[in-house]
Amino acid sequence: MLEIIGMILLTAAGAAVGDEAARSLARCEKELKDLLSLLDEVGILLSSCSLSTEEIFIRIGESEYVYSHCFRCEGDDITDKVSACLRTSGLAMCGELAVYIARFGETDLEGQLARNGLLRHEVSLAYDAAAEKRKKFSNIYRVGGFSAGLVAALLLI
C-alpha cells in the first residue's frame, strides 16, 4: 500500500515539475505579449497625446499589464525608480526594458519613438521565439516530467 502511494507521489511530483516547466514557457510568452502591447501603448501616448514621462507612466501603471505595477512610482527621478523596479521584477526581458526606461525622455520625440520601435522589434523577435518554444516543448516537458517521475518511482520502489 505504502509502495503504491509512494509511486503515485513520485510520479505526480515528476508530472508537476514537467507541468511547471511547460507553464513557465507559457508565462514567458504571455509576458512578452504584454510587453508588446505596453510598448504599442507607449508609442501611441508619445505620438498622439504628447504626454510627459510622468503622465505616460501613470497611464501604464493604471493598465492591466504584468509590468504595470513597476510604473506606479512617484517623485523625482521617476525613470530611475521604475527602472530599478523592473530590473528586480524577474519578468521577461526586464533587463532590456529597464535600460529603455532608465533613459526615457532624454531625447526628442523622434528619438524616443525610434528607441521605442527598436525595443519593440527586439521584443517581437523574442515573443516569436517564445511562442515557437512553447508549442514545441510544452508537451515534451509534461510527458517528460511524468515519465521521469514514473521511472524514479519504479527505480526507488
Binding site: S50, L51, T53, G105, E106, D108, L109
Partner: protein, 297 residues
C-alpha cells in the same frame, strides 16, 4: 517663498557630487547664492552676491546632461520648443538656461543637441525691495512704469515685490510668461504676489494681455522683459484700454531705451509715464514723462 525652497529645487537638478560640494559651503554663502553654472569640462562656478566662486569640481558632459534632463522632468520629447527657446522654469521659479549645439533651419533653431552649458538661477524674494519705487510712483494711483537695467541688476526681484505691493491696493494682472515671478506650482503661487493679483502663468504675452484686459478688468498689468516687435501692439492696446502697465526691460541706461527699436516706439506712443533705471537692485536714475493731462471742462 522661502529662499531655501528655491535653493533646494536648484540642488535637486544637480548630480550628487556637485550637490554635496555646494551643500558643504558655509550657510552665509548659500544664503547669497544666486546662480549655479555648469560648463562642460570646466569647474563649476557659482554667483554669490555680486562675486563669483569657483568650486574645485569639474562639470562633465554627463553632469550637464543629468541637470538638463531633470530640468525637463525627463520629458524632452514634449519640450523641444522650450529647449529651442533656451530655458525652462523648474520648481519654485528656478530658471534653467541652456547653451549647446543648435540645429537650425531657415534661421530658426529647431533643436538643440550636445548641451554644453547650464545656468541655474535661484529665485530670490526680497520683500521690500520695490517699496521705494512703489511709494514714490504707485502709492497714490497706478501709473505706467518701465524698469530697466543690465542683466542681473534685480529687475525681476524688484518687479515681484512691486506686484505684491500693487496687489494689496489695485486689481493687478501679473503676466508671468516664464513662470519666474509668481513661481506657480500646481495652481498655487509660491511667492507672495498680493491679495488682488491674478496670475497668468506661462501664457504667451499677447494672449495674456488681451485676456487680462477683457476678463479681469485690471487696474494695472505687470510683465517682465518686454522689447519684442509683438510687444508694441499688445502693450499699446493695454494702455489704450485705460489700464496702467509696469514692465521691465534690459538696458544699459535710460538714454539707451530711446535707442532701442521697439522700446523707443513704445515711448513715442506714450505708453510709459515713468522710467526707472536699476543698478544692483537699487533705483539710481528716473525720468518722468507723464502723458499730457486732459483738463476738466
Amino acid at each position: 517663498m522661502d529662499k531655501n525652497k528655491g535653493l533646494e529645487s536648484a540642488l535637486r537638478l544637480l548630480p550628487q557630487d556637485i550637490c554635496a560640494e555646494i551643500r558643504a559651503l558655509p550657510e552665509k554663502t548659500l544664503e547669497q547664492l544666486n546662480e549655479i553654472r555648469l560648463r562642460s569640462g570646466r569647474n563649476v562656478v557659482l554667483t554669490v552676491g555680486r562675486s563669483f566662486l569657483e568650486l574645485g569640481i569639474t562639470a562633465e558632459t554627463e553632469d550637464i546632461h543629468t541637470a538638463a534632463v531633470r530640468a525637463f522632468r525627463n520629458s524632452l520629447h514634449t519640450s523641444t520648443e522650450q529647449l529651442c527657446s533656451g530655458y525652462v522654469t523648474y520648481d519654485n521659479g528656478c530658471r534653467v538656461g541652456f547653451a549647446g549645439t543648435a540645429c537650425a533651419e531657415n534661421g530658426s533653431v529647431v533643436n538643440i543637441k550636445h548641451i554644453n552649458s547650464v545656468c541655474i538661477r535661484i529665485p530670490r524674494e526680497v520683500t521690500g525691495c520695490g517699496s521705494e519705487i512703489f511709494d514714490r510712483y504707485l502709492s497714490e494711483r497706478p501709473v505706467s512704469l518701465l524698469i530697466c537695467g543690465a542683466p542681473s541688476s534685480g529687475k525681476t526681484t524688484c518687479l515681484r515685490d512691486i506686484a505684491r505691493l500693487c496687489g494689496r491696493r489695485y486689481r493687478t494682472a501679473l503676466i508671468d510668461e516664464r513662470g519666474e515671478i509668481a513661481a506657480v506650482s500646481s495652481g498655487n503661487a509660491c511667492c507672495d504676489i498680493g491679495l488682488m493679483t491674478d496670475v497668468f502663468d506661462r501664457y504667451p504675452r499677447k494672449a495674456a494681455v488681451e485676456t487680462a484686459v477683457r476678463v479681469m478688468s485690471p487696474q494695472i498689468i505687470i510683465c517682465d522683459e518686454i522689447g519684442s516687435e509683438e510687444d508694441i501692439a499688445s502693450l499699446s492696446y493695454v494702455v489704450c484700454s485705460g489700464v496702467k502697465l509696469t514692465a521691465t526691460c534690459h538696458s544699459g541706461s535710460i538714454d539707451e531705451l530711446f535707442r532701442k527699436p521697439n522700446i523707443s516706439r513704445l515711448l513715442e506712443n506714450e505708453v510709459f509715464d515713468v522710467l526707472v533705471y536699476l543698478e544692483n537692485g537699487r533705483m539710481v536714475q528716473t525720468r518722468e514723462i507723464y502723458s499730457r493731462q486732459c483738463s476738466k471742462l
